[in-house]
């Protein structure tokens, strides 16, 4: 067996582990995804692809509204400065009449009006950005679900837990990126510039102070941030591993107990937590430094402006203005604008984490998207069956017009093969199952039994040969319609979160209570179902009642039996992993289900091989087994 060696993460604290090497299972889907993820890391994800034109416009409008809110502050600051200046002159003149109550009240009222407009702008901007985020998330989930539904069920896909994480958490991570980060970009471009331009006519020196301290900030932040970024990415993985470890140990709690390893594990979790804290603090030491640089420059910027304005007012300093000396009103105005100059920078830095998380999620989703598309392309080469099928070529007018099956059909398989020459999954198989005949496909694991059943279900396309149903190529049937005329039992049947009833009704929505009873009785499941807390309404699956393997298999059999009008029965190792008693019940149920149907049953279980059905041995080439 080939061992795929994969370096997951390099660099581990204290050099305890230099490399994490993981053995990967022979899971093609996983491999494809990893490969794509690798590629995505080298390729920069394009956030632009994420948004439709109108969404980009909406986000940009949201950004502009935030800018508007900031620019309105300039008006408010002017109002405040004007009031203060009037107060000062009245104070100096010791004349209250200069500043009547009415004037103050009017200014305050105007201030509140502008403030209300700003609140409205901010609120609207938030709403718009959130709406965009919601539609993007809905669209992304919809696209992924459609791709998942499009990919053949027979192709390997990353684990279900991992896929669920993609669908929920990774897509969720796009939300803050769109709502918090994206609108800030506009703010960063417009607001500081507008404030510098507003200050410029009053004092070129104050404007210069802002201009110098402003652009220096991103430079310093970038310097510090680059180191922090690499470190924080490693730390994010460590955090995931940290909670993963707790989860893993909780799941294996019984094992730990049986080996008397509980107190040791408790210590392990403690040390891992301590190690994680140390690592994280080392990262944060640097990461916080970058926001501290920002903080420092913004504080110093305000301080310089204050000192400059103060000294100008004192008369000690007369430089910096275009004409005359700086007076109190304009001086206060500049001081009020200084913090607002730095505010967009601070907001941008605060949202930077959302950007990193969003982009990371985006590149992962991108990789998944491409690997899903590839999978869909591989398994949906519609030409595969029809193109190499002489029968289809002979009946050009009949394509896609195969009739709906009502009675057990004749299934004719000829020279069917799957996989390239070097990696045959199914080697040229030829046999015919007459209408209503039951055929056992036997063979060792790896002989292609499951692949053949997958071909019959339309999950896998053949690379040669053909399958004819009543003389019509399988590809002429509408896939969904064909599958509806099949009763099928897989080797590890999946039951879903929900009641037993809803699980069974997947096979037949219009099944009556009596139909359900009959199906359960045929599968030998009536007994245990009636003993469950709520009978047919008992919730099974995740967070529901746990069923044993045998019970699950019986329910799968009942589900197949509920397809009362399906003329074809396909079964793939229906007795795998069952004890003798359950296996006998399942075999008896299959025998009853076989009545009036064309049956193909793949197995290597001797208990099933005792059936008197015709047997086909699947090996390098299929041939009739000696009866």
């Amino acid at each position: 067996m080939r061992i795929a060696r994969r370096v997951i993460a390099a660099g581990r604290h204290r050099g305890r582990r230099i490399k994490l090497v993981e053995l990967t299972a022979d899971d093609r889907g996983q491999g494809a995804l990893e490969g794509a993820a690798e590629e995505a890391r080298t390729r920069k994800p394009a956030p632009a692809d994420l948004l439709l034109g109108n969404e980009r416009a909406a986000l940009s409008r949201a950004g502009l509204l935030l800018c508007l809110s900031d620019l309105l502050w300039i008006g408010q600051a002017a109002l405040l400065a004007f009031c203060a200046a009037s107060m000062l002159s009245a104070f100096m003149a010791e004349d209250t009449a200069v500043l009547p109550l009415l004037f103050l009240a009017a200014s305050a009222f105007a201030f509140v009006l502008i403030g209300g407009a700003r609140a409205l702008c901010q609120h609207k901007a938030g709403q718009m950005a959130r709406r965009v985020a919601a539609t993007v998330k809905i669209r992304k989930r919809g696209e992924f679900l459609a791709s998942i539904a499009r990919v053949s069920p027979a192709s390997g896909m990353p684990g279900s837990g991992q896929m669920a994480a993609y669908l929920s958490e990774q897509i969720d991570a796009l939300g803050p990126y769109l709502t918090h980060f994206m609108p800030q970009q506009q703010r960063l471009k417009i607001v500081p510039l507008a404030i510098v331009l507003t200050v410029l006519p009053i004092s070129w020196l104050a404007s210069l102070i802002l201009m110098v301290t402003g652009p220096v900030i991103p430079l310093f932040m970038a310097l510090v941030g680059m180191r922090a970024k690499a470190a924080s990415e490693a730390q994010q993985e460590e955090l995931a591993r940290m909670s993963g470890m707790l989860l893993d140990r909780l799941r294996g709690l019984v094992t730990l107990r049986l080996f008397g390893a509980l107190s040791n594990t408790e210590r392990d979790i403690e040390t891992a937590g301590e190690r994680f804290r140390n690592g994280t603090m080392n990262v944060l030491k640097i990461a916080f430094l970058s926001s501290t640089v920002l903080e420092l420059f913004s504080a110093l910027g305000i301080a310089f402006v204050a000192v400059y304005v103060g000294f100008s007012l004192l008369g000690d300093l007369s430089a910096g203005t275009w004409w005359g000396a700086l007076s109190f009103g304009p001086g206060l105005f500049i001081l009020l604008l200084a913090p607002e100059f730095f505010a967009p920078l601070r907001a941008y830095a605060a949202a930077y984490h959302d950007r990193a998380a969003g982009l990371a999620a985006l590149s992962k989703l991108d990789a998944l998207d491409r690997s899903l598309t590839e999978m869909a392309a591989v398994n949906r080469s519609d030409t595969a069956v029809r193109g190499t099928d002489p029968a289809a070529v002979q009946r050009p007018g009949l394509a896609q017009t195969a009739p709906v099956l009502r009675q057990a059909p004749l299934i004719d398989i000829s020279r069917l093969q799957v996989g390239a020459q070097s990696a045959r999954r199914l080697a040229s198989v030829t046999f015919t199952a007459r209408a209503g005949e039951a055929v056992i496909l036997r063979g060792r694991s790896g002989s292609g039994k499951t692949t053949l059943i997958d071909c019959l279900l339309g999950f896998v396309d053949a690379d040669g040969g053909h399958i004819l149903i009543n003389g019509f190529p399988l590809s002429d049937f509408d896939p969904a319609g064909w599958r509806r005329s099949v009763a099928w039992i897989g080797q590890s049947p999946a039951l879903f979160h929900g009641s037993i009833r809803s699980n069974l009704e997947l096979a037949n929505e219009t099944a009556s209570g009596a139909d359900l009873e009959n199906a359960l009785a045929l599968a030998g499941a009536s007994g245990f179902v009636s003993r469950l807390p709520k009978g047919l309404n008992t919730v099974i699956g995740e967070e529901g009642f746990g069923l044993s393997v045998g019970e699950g298999r019986r329910l799968a059999l009942a589900r197949a039996a509920l397809r009362t009008d399906a003329p074809v029965l396909l079964a793939d190792e229906p007795t795998a992993g069952l004890d003798d008693d359950t296996a006998q019940d399942v075999i008896a149920g299959l025998e009853r289900l076989a009545e009036g149907r064309t049956v193909l049953l793949a197995t290597h279980d001797p208990r099933v091989l005792r059936l008197s059905w015709r047997q086909i041995e699947l090996t390098a080439g299929a041939r009739e087994a000696s009866a």
Partner: protein, 559 residues
Amino acid sequence: MSAIGQIIARQRHFNPVAFWAGIAVAFVPALAGLALLGVAGWFITACAIAGLTAVFLNVFVPSALIRGLAIARTAGRYGERMVTHDATFRFLAFLRTGIFKGHANAALQGARKLRSGASLNRLTSDVALLDAVYLRLAVPTVVALGVGLLVCLWFAYLDWRLLAGLGLFAAAVISMVVRLKGRNAAAARRLEAGHEALRVRSVDLVAGRRDLAVYGGLDKAAGKVMVANDALIRAESEIDNSAGSFTAATFLAGQVYLAVMLTLTGLLVFDGGLPMGAGVAVLLVSIALPELVSALVPGLSALPRTQRAAARAEANLQAAETGNMDVNAVAQSVPSAAFDGGNTAVLAFDQVSFAYPGAGRSVLEAFDMSLAPGECVALVGRSGCGKSTVSALAAGLAAPVSGAIRLNGAPVGEAGEERLRKQVTVLTQKPYLFHDTVAANLRIANPDASEADMWEALERAALADRIGRSPAGLETVLGEGGLGLSGGEQRRLGLARAYLTRPVLWILDEMTEGLDNETANDVLDRFFSFKGDAAVLMIAHKPQEVARADRQVRLADMF
């Protein structure tokens, strides 16, 4: 006390110094920031007055103060972040250990139903959510209240009438906080349910694609995921929108407050009570004051979710405290029967009955069985007849309702956990493998095992070659659930792990189930050549397993 309050109390209790230090340091940047603006406002006003009146003004003290405050604000912010984060991470590590302890206790006390994977998942992600309790709720709240109080004192010192504006603002903010808190509780519940449904349905869709393609249709199943998504997005929007309204409302309240302060200072300056410089300082401080409230917004909008996470974690931690984990307790009095010579049964079931609490029917009724030293007994019967219950009882994972189970003559329940674990090793159908190195997985059984011991165990389990081929050897990391090893290899690793123990009793629970005949025979051969003179209780239904036993015990079907 609310769950969040309890978590806060827990953190305070866990490390009071770090808890209060974080809050104390957080005051520095908040106060320095306000003071910077206040002093700057006062300074330029004083300068303006001095400039106009040519009165001497000592400019060096205030200008140095301004620079000093700027630096204090910066350094304080950095210090605050470091101290509060360090305190939080320490506490989270403590929480994780506590949660593990809680579960371990529940397991030791024989809680039958272990939690589902989903709820464990939620529990561990809850811990990550709880960092918000201190960082985003406790610290900003105390700082907002404390700084607010200091500003109140300063205003009162200047002129008590200034308090009117501040009081108005505080009242508005508090009423909005109360409103926000009540509003989101239901939405938070729906948010959680939506997340859960999205996850469960996606897992079902991906894991059951074959079944869905034939039964019900993939598109329809995908549609069900989208229904969950819609519910999730609705709940999210509701929470986000009310947080957005809260932000806008507090902003507006801040604007009204500023306008009120503008009018008030104007009036008071002319009233003669308030110096002009102080008036401008009050105005500038008032501009920055609402920022203290906006620091609370992220914590407050996530409050209902945090509350739910806190309640779950708290329940778990309380379980950790009520049970005392007496893993190391040794049986006080081992009955002398334990040492009455060589003919004592290794394991004896004496009239044992067992029923799950609340269940109408018992699983075992007056069951008798005994295992002589070195004997191998196969326990057979159809599935559901209670074989696994016998195994759980013998391993001390469950306690009988009546009757006695003796291990070497001493009741299993009294042997003490540690002693019991040394005497009994259980090999299950599917060994749980941890997402860790091969070595770590092996050392679960014996923390003192040397590398040589481990290689020997792997050799005995016929896995040494496979692990040896991997470049990292014993340090090879296994994926989740043993990913990277085939089913048979996982079984062999489980076997190797068990070979690091030397028990007097082995319990094999369908050890070779699902293995092909060749592998099954190999595994069995290796086991029986290793086990020595230990007794074996084998739960089996495969003939090749049963054939190895000295005798069979058939469990009657209770149904």
